[in-house]
Amino acid sequence: MKRLSVSLPSPRRVPVPRVLRSGIRGVASKSGVSVTAAADAPLFDEELLARLRRLVVLSGRAVTEGLAGEHRSRRRGTSPEFSDFKSYSPGDDFRRIDWNTYARLDGLFVRLSEVTTELSVHLLVDASNSMDWRAGSGVPTKFSYGRRVAGALAYVALWHFDRVTVAPFGEELTPAFGPAQGRAHIVPMLRFLERLAPLGRTDLPSVLDRYVRARRRPGVLVLVSDLLSGEPDDIRQIMRTLRARGWQTVVVHVLDEAELAPAALTGGEVGGRPQPAELVEVETGERMRLTPTRDVLLRYQTAIDGWLAEIESACADEQVAYVRLLTGWSFETLVLRLLHEQGVVA
C-alpha cells in the first residue's frame, strides 16, 4: 500500500477566515456563521487550526489525480521540480532535451520533473436523528461532534488543495458540498456544515452503495456515522464493495458515552429499586417499556459489545480504518491522535 504523507508546514501565514475567528470567540460575525460543537465550545480555535494545517489527509491506496494538489505522484511531468533524466525516445518532447548533457555525453537525454497531484476526499456525514442525540447537556450531540470531525478533515484537505466533497445523508443523499478545491472553499464548507440539519431516518448501506456507484474515480471516503443503520454484515458488505472499487475508506464511529453505559439511559434507581423507563427511539418513535434491572443492563452490555466487535471485525477484514470517537472526548488531543494513529491523517 502506498502511503503518501506530505506534511506541509504553512509557507506563509494564512489568516484564519474571519468567520472562523468569530465562531471561535463566540462573537456573531457578519456572515452569521458560528460553527460550534457546543454552546460554549468553539469549533476551531487558532491553535487547532494551526495543528490542522500541519496535517494532511493520507491517500492510502486511493488514486490521486490532477496537478493542483500537493500529493507527490509517480508521474513525471514538466514542472520546475527536477526529478530524473531518461534517454530520449521518439515522441518525447524534444523541448525537454537537456542539451548540456548532450554536449558532455553526446547522447540525448530528456529532463524529467516531479508532478504533484490532488486527492479526492469524500466526507459522508450521517445526518440521521439518531446522530442528533446526546445523553446529557454536558456533551455535544453526535451530529455536532461528527460535523466537527468532518469539518476538520475537510479543512485539512482543502488547505492542501485536495478535492473535497461533503455529503450529508439520511435515507437519501442530499445535495452535497463540492467537489471543491482550494482554500477559498474553507469558509463555504464550514457554512455548509453549520447549516446541516438532521434528516430523519437513515439507510446507510444503500446510501453508500449509491454514492460509490455514482463516482467514476475512487478516492478517500470518510464515513462519519453512529452506524446504527444496518447490521454489521451489511456494513461489512458495503465496505467490501468500496474496497473492491478502490476506495480508501475510513469509518469514524461516533458514539455517546451513555450508549456504552446503559444505566444512564434509564431512570436509575430509587430506594434501591430500578425505575421503569419508557424508551423512545428518536428515529422511528418506537417505544419500549422496561425496568433496567441488573440482568437487563448486563444483556444490553453484552449486545452492544458484540455489535462493536462485529463492526471492528468487518472493518479490519476489509482493511477499513476504524476510529471510534466518544462525544465526551477532547477533540484537539484524543481525536486527532486517534485519526493520526489510524492513518487517516499525517
Binding site: E259, A277, L279
Partner: protein
C-alpha cells in the same frame, strides 16, 4: 368497657386502602420517558414480558410493607379505637372535659386503714391530684369537698389547674358528715353543656346515695374508693352518743349515758372508761356483737365540770373512741339566766328550772326593782305581778297573770271560766303544745283588747286572748293573762313544753354542752353582744357578727330581728372542744363558754364501704352504654402519628442515595483498531 373499643366501626371500610395499595404496587410505575438513539440493543436485552403488561406480581419490597402499614394504621385510626379507663392516662383525650371531683372530707376519711397507714383523706387527696394532673387546656374542673361545710373550688385554665392543685394539696379535711346527695345535686347544677362531664367521687365508700338523684345526673359518675372498705381493717368501735340527764328518781343527780357501737364484722370486748375532770373514775368491759350497740350509764360525780368516756383499744378511727361533755361551764356566763318575780313556788318555777342550761333566780314581788342588775338576766318572768313600766328590765318579759291595772294594755271586762276557742297552731310558741282539755280556772280573767302590736295566740270564746305576745316598752313580751294556780295547765305535759317554747323564743339560747358531729351550732347570744367568736379545737377563731339590737316597734319586726341575732356555726366537723365567746361592740369579751363536738357518729363511725354505692352510682344517665364513650381515650391521634412516622421512614427508604456505580468512562479504554 374492658379493652379496645371502636367508636366509629364504619371506619373499618378504610381497610379498602390495603388492597388498593397492593394494586398500585402491582401496576407498573409510570415510566420515565427516555429518548434513545436506537432500541436494537434493548430489544436484544430481552426485557421481561411482564414489563409490557398493565399489572405485575406484587413485589415483596420494603416500600410495599411500609405502605401497607401506613394504610392499616390510617384505617384503624378511622375506626377511632378507644381504650378503657385503665389506659386513659395515656393522655390521648381530645374532647374537653369537665371534671367534677367530689372529695369526701368526712370524719370517716380520718381512718388510717390504708395500706400506707395514712388517713384515707390523704389517699383521696392523692387520687384527686392525679385526676387533676390529667387536665389540659380547654378542660374545666370543679372540686367539691364534702364535709360539715361543703367547699367548692373551680378552675378553667391551665393556670387555674395549677392553683387548684395547690389548694387541694393544702386542703384540710373539714370532717363531719358528708352529704353525698347534696353534692350530687350540686354537681347536677354544675354540669357544663358541650363538655365531657365526669363526676368522680373520691371517697371511702361509706356513704349513701339517693338513686333518684343519681339517675338524674347526665354525666358519668365514677367512684374512686380509698381505704380498706371492708374486712377487719375497716372495723371500728365508737362512742356515738354521750348525754347527761337528771336521774329519774333524783332530779338533782345528773346521770351520764354513753352509747357504744361495734361497727365491725366481729365481736369485740373493749374496756370502757369514765374520766371525770381528767381522773378515771370507772372502768368496765363491754362485749359487743357485730353491729351491736350498748348503752352504759354512770352517775355524774358531783361538781364535775367535764366528763369523758373512752373506749380503749386500737381501731381504724381513734377519734371516735372518746366522747366528752361539758357538765358545767366554768363561769356560767352563757347559761340562761332567768329572773322569776313571784311570791310562791309555783310549777312555773320548776318548769323554768328544767330548761337546759337555765339558771333561775327567784325574787319576791316586793323586790321587783332590779336596780343595777336590770341587765343581768336573759329573761324576766313576772308571776302575779306587774312589771314596773317606768323601769323595765332590759330583757324579754314573760307575764303570767299580771294585774290588769299595771298593764299598759286596755281591758274590756273579764272572762269567767274562759274556754279556748282559737289556736294559732303554726306559731313557734305552740309547737308541740296540746291544750286540749285545758281549763283556765273559774276566776275572772281580764279581757285584754289587743292592738296591732299584740298577737293573740290562744283565743277564748269570751272574746279575749288567753295567750298573746307583743312588745312592751320595746321588749318582746308574752302574756298568760290567767292564773296558773286556777288552771290545770301546769299539770299537763303541754306546760313545760309551752314554757320551753316561750323561753326559747324570748331568751337567748344556752350554750349546749355538746354538739353532734357536723350539726350546726345554733346560738342566740345576749342582747348586748355584737360578735360571737368561736374557736375550733385546731384552728383560727371565727367571728360571727350579729345584727344590731332590735328596738322594733312591731311584733313581726321583732321576730325578724330576733332571727337575725341568732348565729349558726356550721363548721363542727372536727371533734374536740370549742370555745365560744361573746364580744361587745368594742371587742371586749362579755361572756364565754365551752362546748364539745364528739367524733363518734352513727354514720361516720361506720367505716365499712356501702356495697350498693357503686351500683347506685352506675345508674347515672350517662354511665350506661351511651356514656361509656366519655370514659375512654381516643387512640387515633397516636395512630396517625405512627403513620406519619412510618411515612417519614418510607421517604427515607425511597429517597436514600443510590449505590454509586463505577462510571463507564473510568473503565473504558479508547478503541482504535481497524485494518488497513
Amino acid at each position: 368497657m374492658s379493652g379496645l373499643e371502636l367508636l366509629a366501626p364504619l371506619g373499618i371500610l378504610g381497610l379498602i386502602a390495603v388492597p388498593v395499595v397492593v394494586v398500585l404496587h402491582m401496576r407498573h410505575t409510570t415510566p420515565l420517558l427516555r429518548p434513545v438513539p436506537t432500541l436494537r440493543f434493548w430489544v436484544a436485552a430481552q426485557p421481561e414480558r411482564t414489563e409490557q403488561t398493565r399489572f405485575r406480581r406484587p413485589p415483596l419490597s420494603l416500600l410495599l410493607l411500609l405502605h401497607l402499614l401506613i394504610a392499616l394504621l390510617l384505617a384503624l385510626a378511622l375506626t377511632r379505637p378507644a381504650v378503657a379507663e385503665a389506659w386513659a392516662n395515656l393522655g390521648l383525650r381530645t374532647e374537653p372535659r369537665h371534671l367534677i371531683l367530689l372529695l369526701d372530707g368526712s370524719t370517716s376519711m380520718a381512718a388510717r386503714d390504708t395500706p400506707s397507714g395514712r388517713p384515707r383523706f390523704e389517699d383521696a387527696r392523692a387520687v384527686a391530684l392525679g385526676r387533676l394532673d390529667d387536665l389540659r387546656e380547654g378542660d374545666a374542673a370543679t372540686v367539691v369537698v364534702l364535709g360539715t361545710r361543703t367547699q367548692t373550688l373551680e378552675a378553667t385554665d391551665t393556670g387555674g389547674f395549677a392553683a387548684l392543685r395547690e389548694r387541694v394539696r393544702r386542703l384540710d379535711a373539714p370532717g363531719g358528715r358528708a352529704d353525698l346527695n347534696a353534692a350530687l345535686g350540686l354537681s347536677k347544677d354544675l354540669l357544663l353543656p358541650g363538655l365531657d362531664d365526669r363526676i368522680v367521687l373520691v371517697s371511702d365508700g361509706a356513704l349513701a346515695a339517693d338513686p333518684g338523684i343519681v339517675a338524674e345526673l347526665d354525666a358519668t359518675v365514677e367512684l374512686e374508693r380509698v381505704g380498706a372498705g371492708s374486712g377487719p381493717a375497716a372495723g371500728n368501735v365508737a362512742i356515738t352518743d354521750l348525754a347527761s340527764r337528771a336521774a329519774p328518781d333524783n332530779p338533782d343527780q345528773a346521770m351520764l349515758y354513753a352509747r357504744v357501737v361495734n361497727f365491725s364484722d366481729a365481736s369485740v370486748t373493749v374496756p370502757l372508761a369514765l374520766i371525770a375532770d381528767g381522773i378515771e373514775t370507772d372502768r368496765r368491759e363491754v362485749t359487743l356483737a357485730p353491729g351491736e350497740a350498748a348503752e352504759r350509764g354512770w352517775p355524774a360525780p358531783p361538781g364535775t365540770r367535764d366528763v369523758t368516756v373512752e373506749v380503749q383499744g386500737a381501731d381504724a378511727l381513734p377519734d371516735d373512741d372518746t366522747a366528752s361533755l361539758v357538765l358545767r361551764q366554768e363561769d356560767a356566763d352563757l347559761s340562761l339566766r332567768i329572773l322569776l318575780v313571784s311570791d310562791v313556788a309555783t310549777p312555773l318555777a320548776r318548769a323554768l328550772q328544767a330548761l337546759d342550761g337555765a339558771a333561775v333566780t327567784v325574787e319576791p314581788t316586793n323586790m321587783a326593782e332590779l336596780g343595777g342588775s336590770r341587765n343581768a338576766y336573759d329573761l324576766v318572768v313576772y308571776e302575779n305581778a306587774a312589771p314596773p313600766l317606768d323601769a323595765l328590765p332590759n330583757a324579754p318579759l314573760l307575764l303570767v297573770n299580771p294585774p290588769p291595772a299595771g298593764m299598759p294594755i286596755p281591758t274590756d271586762g273579764t272572762m269567767t271560766a274562759p274556754t279556748m276557742s282559737s289556736f294559732r297552731a303554726q306559731d313557734p310558741l305552740l309547737q308541740g303544745v296540746d291544750l286540749a282539755g285545758v281549763s283556765f280556772g273559774q276566776q275572772p280573767t281580764p279581757r285584754y283588747v289587743l292592738d296591732g302590736t299584740q298577737t293573740a295566740l290562744v283565743g277564748a270564746a269570751e272574746g279575749g286572748p288567753l295567750l298573746f305576745r307583743g312588745v312592751l316598752g320595746g321588749r318582746p313580751v308574752v302574756v298568760l293573762p290567767f292564773d296558773l294556780a286556777q288552771s290545770n295547765l301546769p299539770s299537763r305535759v303541754a306546760f313545760p313544753i309551752l314554757i320551753a317554747n316561750i323561753a326559747a323564743a324570748l331568751a337567748p339560747s344556752p350554750l349546749p354542752a355538746a354538739v353532734p358531729l357536723g350539726e350546726p351550732l345554733l346560738y342566740r347570744p345576749r342582747g348586748d353582744a355584737a360578735t360571737v367568736r368561736v374557736t375550733p379545737p385546731e384552728g383560727a377563731p371565727v367571728d360571727l357578727p350579729l345584727a344590731a339590737d332590735g328596738q322594733a316597734a312591731t311584733g313581726d319586726e321583732a321576730a325578724a330581728v330576733d332571727r337575725l341575732r341568732q348565729v349558726a356555726f356550721a363548721d363542727t366537723g372536727r371533734s374536740g372542744e370549742y370555745r365560744v365567746a361573746e364580744l361587745d361592740a368594742a371587742g371586749n369579751e362579755i361572756a364565754g363558754g365551752r362546748l364539745v363536738v364528739n367524733a363518734g357518729h352513727a354514720t361516720e363511725s361506720d367505716l365499712r364501704a356501702r356495697a350498693e354505692l357503686p351500683n347506685v352510682l352506675a345508674t347515672a344517665r350517662a354511665s350506661g352504654d351511651d356514656g361509656s364513650r366519655s370514659s375512654v381515650a381516643d387512640l387515633w391521634p397516636i395512630l396517625v402519628a405512627v403513620a406519619v412516622a412510618v411515612l417519614v421512614l418510607e421517604w427515607l427508604v425511597a429517597l436514600r442515595p443510590r449505590t454509586s456505580r463505577q462510571p463507564f468512562a473510568a473503565s473504558y479504554q479508547p478503541m482504535g483498531t481497524g485494518g488497513r
